[in-house]
Subunit: 410 residues, 2 copies
């Protein structure tokens, strides 16, 4: 049985958080100096475990075992959101490193090849899930040519140049070389904490359906236009958000979530009745049937809003993500390990967020493990997880890795 080194794990997690340290979190945008420093540091650590390390043309860092046997990829993404937490992504990356180390140190595990990996730009500073999508062959050069930093507009090509990645090939998955892929991640919500659980065995990653809903009323003078004759597009947008809040709970699944992320009124001046309103709306669920039901209700609610306000509406679905289900044997391997190390404190649960596992999972068997987020805080520098949970999660994942690799080669 592999035994991870708890002190070393915590120390390496904290070492990794020094790349771009910000308050008690990190600011390590993809391809920034801090991000590239962290990737080069990882490559050195991979080599020190006896792996062949390389950084590919989009910044993915691979530690490749010398063994001819099929290996198990374990990792996550190395960069952070802006001014965000120290564990989002980094947790899974450092787990991969620690598990590779502990396997190398455990005589009866030393022959089981662990391939740690750190993906680039899962957070989408340029392109969401860039590294894992590149690895499975889902991105062509034209898409990279077009991509720019979503905040400052810097072309991805220029960022790759500045990061010293130009000329390096993009590594492409050869599926026959791998048994599968495991990823650990902080939950980013409070479901584990609220239920007193310490390990989440991820069953599925939700499908995200996203909409642009535009209301068109009549733009007019806010002083001279009587209330009775107004067609106020802004009021229609507000009514939509409130009607969704009323109706969705009656048809949603137990894990459904929905969010109005943006409301833009035009012209947006204090003395002009908005003639146009755009609403960005999304919902997520792990079951197609629920997603389709929510879609139907959304369209009903938009229609009701049109009738009540006299505004016209256009509704466009801009994203129709399919839920993605984890490999069931891999889930069982994680669950068995959790039963050993945290009896009664583990739970199967869907992931409400996107992860590299849903990309790699299109080509390899894959599964994920969650550890609790204190207070459910995510994408903020106060994000954190108890040390005991950090250690527990790594041991559970190490055990699951052993089970999976032995199952394959026994």
């Amino acid at each position: 049985m592999p035994k991870i080194n708890a002190g070393r794990l915590l120390s390496e997690l904290r070492r990794f958080a020094q790349f771009g340290a910000y308050e008690t979190g990190v600011h390590r945008p993809t391809f920034s100096r801090e991000d590239m420093d962290s990737r080069r540091w990882l490559a050195l650590q991979y080599e020190a475990v006896g792996l062949q390390a390389h950084i590919d043309g989009v910044g993915n860092v691979f530690g490749t075992p010398l063994s001819k046997r099929r290996s198990l990829l374990i990792g996550s993404h190395a960069e952070s959101e802006n001014h965000a937490g120290w564990l989002d992504g980094a947790l899974g990356v450092v787990y991969g490193l620690e598990i590779a180390r502990s396997f190398a140190e455990t005589p009866d595990c030393a022959g089981l090849p662990i391939a740690p990996v750190a993906w680039a730009d899962e957070e989408g500073h340029y392109l969401s899930l860039l590294g894992s999508r590149s690895f499975i062959g889902d991105i062509d050069e034209a898409e990279i040519d077009r991509a720019v930093n979503i905040r400052n507009g810097l072309p991805l090509r220029e960022a790759l140049q500045a990061a010293g990645l130009v000329g390096l090939p993009r590594s492409l998955l050869e599926p026959e070389r791998y048994v599968g892929y495991l990823e650990a991640h902080i939950e980013q919500g409070d479901a584990l904490e609220a239920s007193g659980n310490r390990i989440g065995v991820v069953t599925s990653i939700v499908g995200i359906w996203q909409y642009s809903i535009i209301f068109r009323g009549v733009q007019n003078h806010a002083g001279t236009t009587r209330m009775a004759i107004r067609k106020d597009a802004g009021l229609a947008a507000a009514m939509l958000a409130m009607n969704i809040a009323d109706r969705f709970p009656t048809v949603a699944g137990p894990s459904s979530v929905w969010t109005t992320g943006r409301i833009s009124l035009e012209p947006g001046a204090p003395s002009i009745i908005p003639g146009k309103a755009e609403v960005l709306f999304q919902f997520r669920d792990s079951e197609m049937a629920v997603l389709e039901r929510l879609d139907l209700v959304l369209r009903e609610v938009v229609e009701e809003t049109v009738i009540k306000t006299g505004c016209r509406a256009e509704i466009e679905r801009t994203e129709t993500g399919r839920p993605w289900h984890m490999d069931s044997a891999f889930q069982e391997a994680i669950e068995s390990a959790a039963m050993r190390h945290a009896p009664g404190a583990h739970v199967r649960m869907p992931s409400g967020a996107s992860h590299d596992a849903q990309v790699v999972g299109r080509k390899l068997r894959a599964a994920m493990l969650f550890v609790p987020s204190i207070g459910g805080i995510s994408h903020h520098w106060t994000e954190n997880t108890h040390d005991a949970d950090l250690v527990l999660g790594c041991q559970v994942l190490a055990d699951a890795a052993e089970t999976i690799l032995r199952g394959e080669y026994r």
Copy 2:
């Protein structure tokens, strides 16, 4: 009795609309070439009626009678909103010119001095009500130094330079030279049309109270944060707008209007629960008691929203305009003329919009007349008024001017 020349009035209105003609309206921003051309043309027309014409340091155009008797100012603003209507402002300016002409042509009115005027930038391309405020001494050089074009940031000083106005003095009101001020304007709403009236005798200009209301919730991940624990600032903003729509009608006055002109959610991303929402809200009424009641209800509704959503709220009143009441004798002069020329088709009404009359009215007796806006359309190039109403409004204002001037000197 002065008799206006209907054909000449309509022809001059159409001539004036050629300065910056745009579709069936005009695009004549303050201090643009088209705006300055129109002002120079006006000065020539004033001179042709035997008035001393001059353009002052902020672009106001004055036609000063040679008579030593106190004169009656009649006018409005010459510039337009962007891509807007041909009558907003221009109507009152051309009425002033036509009334000066018809008085000069009418033997028994020739001794009654009419002083036509065209104010600058009532529309606020740089500073709302700039010209009339400058005239009554309400603007100092520092405020002009600071002002910039609200759309392109061009400093007002540079615009004045480009317009050839640098070095010209700003004309200051000498109250003893005037009997008062009359302004005609399109209604900009549909109250006259909807009630079958052709002349509005303006009783007051509404007070505008404006608010910035900020809700602060908890910004979080839109996928991993359960619905039950969210504090969604965007939902609070939507709820506020809907609750205002429910509550205000029960306490508002018959002419009250209220508008949510802007809703900004932060960070405004589709996958992030808004942590902050800012709402720009205003209401208008001509009675202080109503304004105070609406203020109270708004604060109650904000408090209810806080309780229902768990968000915090800050409410700041950024504008507290007092309603301004027209001179009652001047109102009677307009109403008497309306009874003569449009029996049963005139009504006393408040103005929901701001006008130069509320500024000049702080120093001189002043009143306003409205003509109907077809379909209530305003600040759009399709704005229009029936020719018969254009002619009627001018004759009513001419009669009122005579009454006022004779009342003063009889």
